[in-house]
Symmetry: D3
Subunit: 239 residues, 6 copies
Amino acid sequence: MRPSGRTPDQARDVKIIRHFTSHAEGSVLVCFGNTQVICTATVEKGVPRWLNGKGQGWITAEYGMLPRSTHSRNAREATRGKQGGRTLEIQRLIGRSLRSVVDLNKLGEFTITLDCDVIQADGGTRTASITGACVALVDALRHLQLNKQIKTDPFRQFISSVSVGIYKGVPVLDLDYPEDSGCETDMNVVMTEAGQFIEVQGTAEGQPFSRDEMNAMLELAEKGCRELIELQKQALEQP
Amino acid sequence: MRPSGRTPDQARDVKIIRHFTSHAEGSVLVCFGNTQVICTATVEKGVPRWLNGKGQGWITAEYGMLPRSTHSRNAREATRGKQGGRTLEIQRLIGRSLRSVVDLNKLGEFTITLDCDVIQADGGTRTASITGACVALVDALRHLQLNKQIKTDPFRQFISSVSVGIYKGVPVLDLDYPEDSGCETDMNVVMTEAGQFIEVQGTAEGQPFSRDEMNAMLELAEKGCRELIELQKQALEQP
Amino acid sequence: MRPSGRTPDQARDVKIIRHFTSHAEGSVLVCFGNTQVICTATVEKGVPRWLNGKGQGWITAEYGMLPRSTHSRNAREATRGKQGGRTLEIQRLIGRSLRSVVDLNKLGEFTITLDCDVIQADGGTRTASITGACVALVDALRHLQLNKQIKTDPFRQFISSVSVGIYKGVPVLDLDYPEDSGCETDMNVVMTEAGQFIEVQGTAEGQPFSRDEMNAMLELAEKGCRELIELQKQALEQP
Amino acid sequence: MRPSGRTPDQARDVKIIRHFTSHAEGSVLVCFGNTQVICTATVEKGVPRWLNGKGQGWITAEYGMLPRSTHSRNAREATRGKQGGRTLEIQRLIGRSLRSVVDLNKLGEFTITLDCDVIQADGGTRTASITGACVALVDALRHLQLNKQIKTDPFRQFISSVSVGIYKGVPVLDLDYPEDSGCETDMNVVMTEAGQFIEVQGTAEGQPFSRDEMNAMLELAEKGCRELIELQKQALEQP
Amino acid sequence: MRPSGRTPDQARDVKIIRHFTSHAEGSVLVCFGNTQVICTATVEKGVPRWLNGKGQGWITAEYGMLPRSTHSRNAREATRGKQGGRTLEIQRLIGRSLRSVVDLNKLGEFTITLDCDVIQADGGTRTASITGACVALVDALRHLQLNKQIKTDPFRQFISSVSVGIYKGVPVLDLDYPEDSGCETDMNVVMTEAGQFIEVQGTAEGQPFSRDEMNAMLELAEKGCRELIELQKQALEQP
Amino acid sequence: MRPSGRTPDQARDVKIIRHFTSHAEGSVLVCFGNTQVICTATVEKGVPRWLNGKGQGWITAEYGMLPRSTHSRNAREATRGKQGGRTLEIQRLIGRSLRSVVDLNKLGEFTITLDCDVIQADGGTRTASITGACVALVDALRHLQLNKQIKTDPFRQFISSVSVGIYKGVPVLDLDYPEDSGCETDMNVVMTEAGQFIEVQGTAEGQPFSRDEMNAMLELAEKGCRELIELQKQALEQP
């Protein structure tokens, strides 16, 4: 039924490759099937002006797509002179999600910027970004601890993210591009390792969805997020 | 328990005043308590370029806040030279929601723009905007029918929107500003008169929320949206 | 002769409603006939950088129109990414006019921003803005005195503003939109309660005007401004 | 009494040099004392989109200052990414003034752009710009007639512009920078050769001005503009 | 002598990986040592407006760096709202270079856009970009021929690019970042397979260079470019 | 053979007029034939933020063209909202070149900005700008010494700049516009009075150039630059 031949509750193959580029304190290539995102975590001293002197840190995120990461070329946002609404929406989501798993007081006056740059897109770029950025973030926090720049670990718990939706009437997990562009409803879920929700964003693209459909989708999301957190932990066990 | 003295499942007083300004095809002042939004619907011939020749119409939305609609003054977006991420996110939500209740083929090659301008803010500006814009939209569609510019009514069904959240551990309906800025979780819900979901956007500002909390919030949202649709219909029965 | 049936020296009905919105230190809805403008005065500590340490305050103004305040919709300036020339010209005029009636040394290091937002336009939005903003400014200055933030009243005198013009060869007072778009000459005048001029801006849209016509227009403007100052004072006598 | 030693009704030495640069259809260097402005008139086929098919032409203007035309350096507007409010205000004034002396129907579907670029500023740049641009415009219209691109002369009459003001209590003609920055009132006047007004823009920088002061200023302006038109005509009699 | 231990005339290890991402008509990862650039070639129907109807095609390029491709994070150009001068300079160079090796008349009304996005920077990003983009361009041209969209091969000859410089008084080939930031003179050279020059851009960062030094650098550049063209050809022999 | 009738190694007539405008510390009109550029040098206290506290100064440049300095009118960059790639490239070149001849430590914490504004263009605007800006810079440095703001002369040596190219197969010196737009290769060279190179930027517009052609061009450039430095020195000997 699914274009990819997957079963409804089957996520795509996931790869999480750490130390993908060399300069960043955390650098991860995350692949959800053919979707590939480079997630880097940059540690900088200091905080935005409005946090000055409060003794706490800050986590923020930026998102971008290479112009030809998509089927047809999208104009470069740097050329158009501004980030589009979709981009801003996604990077606000990434930043908000990852802020929720860090104790900003323990972080101290550091800012960590998570850059998620899509080099190949096939649906689910924002969920892959959150999942990969969480791993890059852990590496950056380890870096700060190794260098004795912070004393205690500000990391609270893992989060991961996956999309679910109603495709041809059936609730499915981890939509790829053909499903994403053809589905009735699309929902992005961010969950903690304790199985609670950080974000739930469901949108009826085609037709409204019922409470029952919502429940079915949330169940799939829980399964998907649990599997992803397993993979994040495995990746971080590598040296 | 609530700063306003309301019970957990009690929404604020709502006013929906049609024909609020004189030039627009639909013009509504909507008040959710102290939150006041002017929602106008503008009908223009033609569609965006990418829809040319497809014989269908388009619905879009823009959102803004007067600089001193808030407790302290916010810089005017026209002065800063761009709309912020929050603004873009909200106007994309309004546009998407209202597009879902109009049969764009029946609308024909017209564009309807919903401008939602907040003149006083006290929490829930996006939910008030959607609720008011739906009424302005109906007036604009009636205008098109009265002028014989379209033959059949493209309107599918009413939608309304309300916020719910977890405030001091208790699920509450229709958060005002003091609740909004202090709550653990905030969820905006857009529902149809048939009781189905168009949008569900839940965010854990403070701490993650459980499945049970989500269910409690959705129940409150259903109650709130049902009441709002009742008020929309009453307003539209006036001449 | 006039489309509205008014006599040449007859201004439109004027309403000045204070405390129109709740957050601003001064908030006025001013109506010149169908022209409606929300004027808020915001008090903020501090002054622009180039005034730092001079011990004086600053008054500035911003102007905007809701997209559908006009007969056909105007693109939102926040969306276009900049304020247009007409907007900048008007807000510079409002700011300059109101600066002239405040003793900036007595104000001390506070900035007062006057936001004039047109919600319905029918000619004369800039003159209504100045007239309404003057009332909002007085409320803001009263607020500063009540809170003991300043000791003496920096307000020098009232100003009001009205348009005059040559319409079908006849000098007329307070042009509405049909007159404004059809007149030969249009002049905006800002006057003090002592009957002197702050600004005179006359433009021959159609054909040049003579010295005699100028004199006739200035006489009408004096009458109109005098009446407006009476109404400003009445409004401010309300509690 | 005047810093320059001039009598109150004495304008500065004026130079109007045609054919100042070689590419433009009209190119004039105009000097009001130390104020120097290059005014070029460019003829282009076609009109702005909103005039398409109406068979009439268009006149528009742009204004700029070289960064170091002033006492201290002003940031280049191209670098700041936008034209400031003062610039927009001035170029709107120049364009409006010169449009008023051309029969746009006789011009046909041509656009003439007047670029006024200040290379040295000492007060009165906008009045010098209008005065010089009028001469460049005549040259451009002659060019169109010589090339048989238009049949009849669209030029209606000469205009010139000069500033007047109240300096140390005395009405004076043609303010230079030291007067301009120290005066109580500043008025820019644009007049036709028939002695009528196109624009009158008076601003009380310091203190309000009376009707009598206004009359005294207008008299000076009439004298100044008459003299300038004489010089424009002399310049245009050169081959 | 060189920080990397290379001999003066030794280039870094080069990798050219085709089909690096899946959507683009040409997609190459090029590595000059630790410098890694993704070069994609996108084919689109149509040409820029100013080429309409001339029957020829167009080649253009855009360049970007991921924010953390560098030692410390650079602000994202999309966030800053414009491309910087260095970026524009580089992408103009890439576009100009590759335009010179394509017969635009044979290309017909297609536009090929070369996007060069640096994912890891260690000096020489512009020379790597040109070298990699040339391979991506060949793949895109092959794609057009395979699909019978063009009949004859518009490709004239290979080009490659390398940097040379004077480092600690010695002419060296292919500067890495430590050399680039410490050298006296830096020169980027683009050459054809016939051994002629397309671009020579030499800059004395520290102290002026002599004619002899220039000759020594050009000799190294010839060697480097020849080797690179060999590698481009090898890469393109793979299926 | 050359459109102007010049011999291949003959530069255009050059004029260097100092004190061209009155406000700047250095102000030069430089003419290379019909190319005319106003170069001003502005001295300001302070340095860019990233140089704060290092005790050294800074030299920077900006470049612009009056809209009708060219054959057909170019849109004003201030109106378009940004400087184009060509402009940025040229002003970076001017700034870099002049920085190379000043000992920034001796300059102390002053910034000198060189504004090069083209009032008439006929090819070679960037080379004329560098040549003229060098003279304006010397005047500005003399000004600083006269006012005892610096103790020792930071000027190292003269630089000048000229273009060379291959036009109809023949190497020529100092291309004017007809040559520039029709040549095969165009090279801009910046040289010191000691006969060494600061910048060499050669571009094959039409067809690649050989090593021999490059040598022939460099020889012409040396001759041209030597002559220009002679003229710079003569101009600076005037009082």
